[in-house]
Subunit: 138 residues, 3 copies
């Protein structure tokens, strides 16, 4: 049994879903672990993670537009020190995921056919987001 | 230290919460692992997982009705190629869980008294859903 | 490779976010594991977990107020046997997290600078909440 860890940086240029499935699967394939557990952890409070459909791009568009309606700018927020996108970014993070854990089977995360791994950026200005990876197995 | 993996199939007949706690706990009990970590992973983008009250069935009814209001059919969605339940199914999946990780203590997932594990089916038509299980421990 | 488990109890006095980051990091530091995976699991269906900003307390205030609007008391719920805060508590739990998994690097959970770990209590009356911890690594 062994472990591997790594930190990815993803540069974002405004709100939206940034797929990084292939970065993840390529990193896993290099660790020489056939069976194990992969954990993906986002080290931020205004960007998050999700697994969603990787086929039709309108799904990503609709997800982003939906969360803009669900946690709108200019709501009755006390916290707005960093601008109108600040508090909605925290709320969208709480409503989605900070971490993903995916079993690894035959050397690859056991994602379904239509599942892609996305960073969900909620802030307007460009950011560099750190994603910690952990893999345990053999 | 050792690992076990397994894939469950759950047949669904329309939207709702399908409990499979006993299937999980029975599988765990057969792996001969006293202390460890169980991960349950749903390989789909229009069905999800959650842990909720297993006593009063009205809780499940209210959860399902609530998500129907929160992510309604016939919203302003660009993606509707598979019918009116298509995009709401993706949104409900994003708002709940794709994976659950539960510590195993004394050979059993350490669920609270009232916690059951559910597949939350969001599509109207029958589906066969694949759930990947991973257990590590000793 | 080794494992540690522990159960925390957190006493709550009404709805809100209770930070317990330092309890977690201190427990991890005592397990003598440099690299691993920490899992935090909430054994309840009316309280949940989240990772959010630990700096400005108005963020916590806004999160709590937002969820009160998103899952209000006196909604069209069938389940209200324990009072008006009962069903909203279940819904807020479903919309947030029951478990958190965080990679451990250099003997500490690899939280970002602004990330704190919170118990999100949704019930009005005081409760004692059990949080199970699991750590695997070496």
């Amino acid at each position: 049994m062994k472990q591997s860890t790594h930190t990815l940086e993803i540069a974002t240029r405004g709100p939206g879903l940034y797929e990084f499935t292939s970065t993840i699967t390529q990193w896993v394939s290099r660790q020489n672990i056939q069976t194990g557990l992969l954990t993906v952890f986002c080290r931020h409070t205004s960007a998050s993670l999700l697994i969603q459909e990787n086929a039709d791009p309108t799904v990503r568009h609709d997800i982003q537009a939906y969360f803009d309606r669900l946690a709108p700018e200019h709501g009755p927020y006390a916290h707005n020190s960093e601008g109108p996108d600040d508090m909605p970014a925290h709320l969208k993070t709480v409503l989605t995921q900070v971490h993903l854990s995916i079993p690894v089977i035959n050397g690859s995360p056991t994602l379904g056919t239509w599942q892609g791994i996305y960073l969900f950026e909620h802030r307007t200005r460009p950011h560099r987001r750190e994603i910690a990876l952990h893999l345990i197995g053999e």
